[in-house]
């Protein structure tokens, strides 16, 4: 990038909106996946949609790749800068633009923090349902990019369920609107494609969210089991009984130890801990909670506790929500993995993880959203011991391969980003990935928006779609007749 472009960008974003000094750029060289780092050429901090458009227009004209970034909490390197590119940080666009309670909509700028949406409407007994672990610091724009989940998406759905409309700056700088405050706008559901596209299709500058009324009653139960297998069997029992809890979470012994060391959640010491949350009308919840308790007992739970107060429920959750960070108490380094399996494969996959962990001589702590089969194995290692980091990475990949083999996915909520580009081709075939990239070619033919992420091989947008391939059934002479 030359001085003229820097001057132009400074004129757009102002002196305080452009960072070029190496010491300050360091802050932006990685996101939550800290082992991958790339220095950007510049960081822009726009405070309006017009500035975003102007910056993107310059990038388009000069063919400069750009990466949009929210709070930088992502765990797959989605906001990792690209070589010779710039980073556009959206945190200054952090206004809640509209709260429309009669229609249960909130319109926000992308830099608004997830928890602040609920904060704004909770006095009216509404909440914003997607609750990723980082919800007090992560931004809605980042949630849109990653289609963030959370513990309660079993019942309430993911970010994509709650995003109804988007204002988007396309990679050529033009501004368009996808979806809206109203459902089923005429045309393709491009809002549905944009959410979860990991910043590869453009930059959202305004987001219409759906909010949800707080349920009448919430009850949370903690059940201790000899191992995660019995806990998993209880989860299957709950599903088979026709219940859809708001959340079902399992932690294994190592994760429990870590949570205890970190936040003293007062969890029972056991091989597998199950947390079940039910919400809805009081009579319904009470009837179902009796059933859940019975199912836990029948599956060998030695201890069952029902939270007796909001404070106790908060403590139940505190241990679970702090589990990732808590692992730092029992291991100097760790890899947070994110894979999904069909719920029924849980016992098989867990014992396989245990076998692999023993084989590698590395400990694996397991925390998972059991209701939807989303595993978060934490592979513990010590960087100072030569070879251990590589062994941990290898083990972490083996675990994802298990997920694929079980018919699952390489990511349930953290995204593919830079981290899992190689893994995605083990989950999807070349034609599958190529078909997805047709969408990208429509949005971003020059491949400027977060260009190196998700896909291991970039489809050239110049490639003629539907390119002629000789078909075995085809005979010479047929084509010339038309």
């Amino acid at each position: 990038m030359n001085a003229r472009i820097f001057r132009e960008l400074r004129a757009i974003a102002g002196k305080n909106g452009l960072i070029t000094s190496p010491e300050e750029l360091h802050t932006y060289e990685c996101d939550g996946l800290t082992n991958l780092r790339v220095m950007p050429c510049a960081v822009l901090l726009p405070d309006s949609r017009e500035q975003v458009q102007a910056i993107v227009r310059v990038c388009h004209r000069e063919k400069i790749p750009f990466v949009a970034r929210g709070s930088g909490t992502g765990l797959s390197g989605g906001a990792l800068p690209v070589e010779n590119g710039i980073v556009i940080v959206m945190t200054r666009m952090n206004r809640i633009l509209e709260v429309d309670l009669p229609n249960a909509r909130v319109v926000v700028e992308p830099g608004v923090l997830n928890l602040d949406v609920t904060g704004r409407v909770q006095s009216q007994e509404y909440f914003y349902a997607p609750d990723p672990g980082s919800q007090s610091v992560c931004s809605i724009g980042g949630n849109v990019a990653e289609n963030s989940g959370g513990a309660h998406c079993l019942k309430y759905g993911f970010t994509t369920t709650h995003v109804l409309g988007l204002e988007v700056v396309l990679p050529d700088g033009s501004l368009i609107h996808l979806g809206g405050k109203i459902l089923d706008a005429p045309g393709y559901d491009l809002a549905g494609v944009f959410v979860g596209s990991e910043g590869t299709l453009g930059i959202a500058t305004k987001i219409v969210l759906r909010i949800v009324k707080r349920p009448e009653c919430v009850q949370t139960l903690l059940a201790a089991f000899p191992s995660t297998n019995e806990a998993g069997a209880a989860v299957s029992g709950v599903i088979a009984a026709g219940m859809l809890p708001a959340a079902m979470e399992i932690m294994d012994n190592l994760a429990i130890q870590a949570a205890e060391a970190a936040v003293h959640a007062n969890y029972p010491s056991c091989g597998g801990l199950l947390l079940v949350e039910l919400d809805g009308p009081t009579a319904e919840v009470e009837a179902q909670m009796c059933q859940v308790t019975e199912i836990c007992r029948a599956n060998g739970s030695s201890e069952i506790r029902l939270a007796q107060s909001d404070a106790e429920r908060a403590l139940f959750w505190k241990g679970r929500k702090s589990a990732f960070a808590a692992v730092g108490r029992i291991s100097p380094n760790y890899i947070i993995q994110d894979g999904v399996i069909p719920r029924t494969a849980l016992p098989r996959v867990m014992s396989e993880i245990e076998r692999l962990s023993n084989e590698a001589g590395l400990r694996v702590a397991n925390v998972f959203h059991a209701g939807d089969g989303n595993l978060h194995p934490l592979v513990l290692y010590d960087k100072r011991i030569p070879g251990q980091e590589q062994a941990a990475e290898a083990l972490s990949i083996r675990i994802l391969e298990l997920c694929i083999a079980a018919g699952g996915s390489i990511t349930g909520e953290h995204g593919v980003g830079e981290d899992k580009k190689k893994m995605i081709s083990k989950m999807f075939s070349e034609p599958d990935l190529d078909t997805m990239q047709r969408v990208r070619c429509a949005f971003d033919p020059l491949q400027l928006s977060n260009p190196t992420k998700i896909f291991p091989r970039t489809r050239l947008c110049g490639e003629k779609p539907g390119e002629y391939v000789a078909h075995p059934l085809e005979t010479a002479g047929l084509a010339e007749r038309f």
């Binding site: 393709y188 491009l190 219940m243 990511t411 995204g415 779609p465």
Partner: protein, 428 residues
């Protein structure tokens, strides 16, 4: 010269039919009849492939030789969308009708596109589960057709629409590619969400060959309640007080018409104890309006709009949930002015269904007026059914500033406009 050209064309047509028979077998290729018409377009040939691969091969052949393809499931909604600009080959999914895998313990199902909703639900109910969707004509409508038209009923309030229920899809593209995206697990963010792109795309990007859905348990009991309202404004207040309450209703709708007072219907699903408490709560929150238990048939009101509808216009309304009464008042005003009869079912989500009866000319005028009014408030009005003699009218209305991008997506998937040409928004 002309004779020779048309003879050559006949020869080519029979050569193509021969190729099609080679792909799918002679019994699965037939000449189209009048019953196969798509609005006013008459295709020449109907092909029923027996597998994903056969379907993809047929599509590729058609694309190569320039035949326009109309994908078809149960054929229940041939008049939805614009009349196609060309129609040569009807690609039927009738033989792709298997429930491939119902993993009840995972609450998921993989099903072929040609399976009817009813058959799917029957299979799922054996394990006490369902696809939580109430589409039109489930005994004939297929998975692929319901997905492509994004049809949903009142249950959407609680369970979302197809975009929220579909977790995986396999499609055939015009170049013969068979591609899958999503997967078999409920939670999955690997790659782009093509299942959502295919939902509501009216088969203009690819032909859905199979889909994977997340399922819900069948409710232990369901109970419906209705309340007659003095006018639309009180109906709107009732909707709001239920929506703003802590009731866990599964569906809610307003039935309105020119000549009778509006009725609000509420559906509860759950356990016996839970339902009794909710019924009491509902009655209290709507007091002094009288709330009575209602038959489940109130939820057929949407489908009944199509009853002997030859001379009617039927349209899908989309409005903000808090503007339903306002929208219905607009319908009343415009309908009264043009002396036409109207009847509507509006769901609490803001999605509604409107039937207008009258002379084709006034229907046309009234419809255009209504569309202008709805669009000026950010809503939309799409035609689903037109009477004979109704002047041409774009089916969808304004697709907004993303239309150029939609065209770009179409070009990437179907560069020769082989699939349902002209049927979608903006002539896509």
């Amino acid at each position: 010269m002309e004779t020779s050209a048309s003879l050559k064309a006949i020869g080519a047509a029979s050569a193509i039919e021969e190729k099609l028979r080679e792909i799918v077998g002679a019994a699965s290729v037939r000449a189209a009849s009048l019953a196969d018409a798509i609005s006013d377009q008459h295709a020449r040939i109907v092909v029923e492939p027996g597998s994903d691969q056969e379907l993809a091969s047929v599509l590729r052949l058609a694309n190569e030789v320039g035949l326009a393809v109309i994908p078809r499931g149960g054929g229940t909604k041939p008049d939805w969308g614009n009349t196609p600009t060309r129609a040569d080959l009807i690609l039927s999914t009738a033989r792709l009708a298997k429930v491939i895998e119902h993993v009840w313990a995972d609450l998921t199902v993989t099903v072929e596109a040609g399976c009817t909703l009813q058959r799917l639900q029957d299979a799922l109910s054996q394990h006490g589960q369902r696809l939580a969707l109430d589409p039109l004509w489930p005994e004939r409508a297929t998975v692929g057709g319901v997905l492509s038209t994004n049809d949903s009923g009142a249950l959407r309030l609680r369970f979302g629409s197809l975009r929220d229920l579909i977790i995986g899809v396999t499609i055939a593209l015009p170049d013969g590619t068979l591609a899958s995206s999503g997967g078999k697990v409920v939670k999955n963010v690997a790659g782009y969400d093509l299942p959502k792109l295919m939902t509501g795309a009216l088969g203009t990007l690819g032909v859905i060959t199979r889909a994977v859905f997340r399922l819900h348990p069948l409710p232990k009991i369901a109970q419906s309640f209705s309340a007659r309202m003095s006018n639309l404004e009180t109906a709107q207040r009732a909707l709001h007080s239920v929506q703003n309450s802590k009731l866990a209703h599964a569906a809610m709708q307003v039935r309105a018409a020119g000549d009778v007072p509006p009725e609000v219907d509420v559906l509860f699903e759950g356990t016996k104890a839970g339902l009794a408490a909710q019924a009491t709560h509902l009655k209290k929150s709507l007091d002094p309006v009288v709330v009575a238990e209602a038959p489940a048939s109130v939820w057929s009101a949407r489908q009944e709009l199509w009853f002997t509808s030859d001379s009617a216009v039927i349209a899908k309304i989309s409005l903000l949930p808090a503007s339903i009464a306002n929208g219905m008042e607009t319908v009343r005003r415009v309908a009264d002015h043009h002396k036409i009869r109207w009847k509507a079912v509006a769901e609490a989500t803001g999605i509604g269904w409107l039937r207008l009866d009258g002379s084709p000319h006034y229907l046309h005028v009234a419809f255009r007026e209504l569309r202008t009014e709805f669009e000026s408030r950010g809503g939309s009005l799409a035609v689903l059914h037109r009477p004979a003699g109704f002047a041409p009218l774009e089916a969808w209305g304004n697709a907004g500033d993303a239309l150029p991008l939609m065209r770009a997506v179409k070009r990437q998937f179907d560069s020769k406009s082989t699939l349902n040409p002209g049927r979608f928004v903006g002539g896509i």
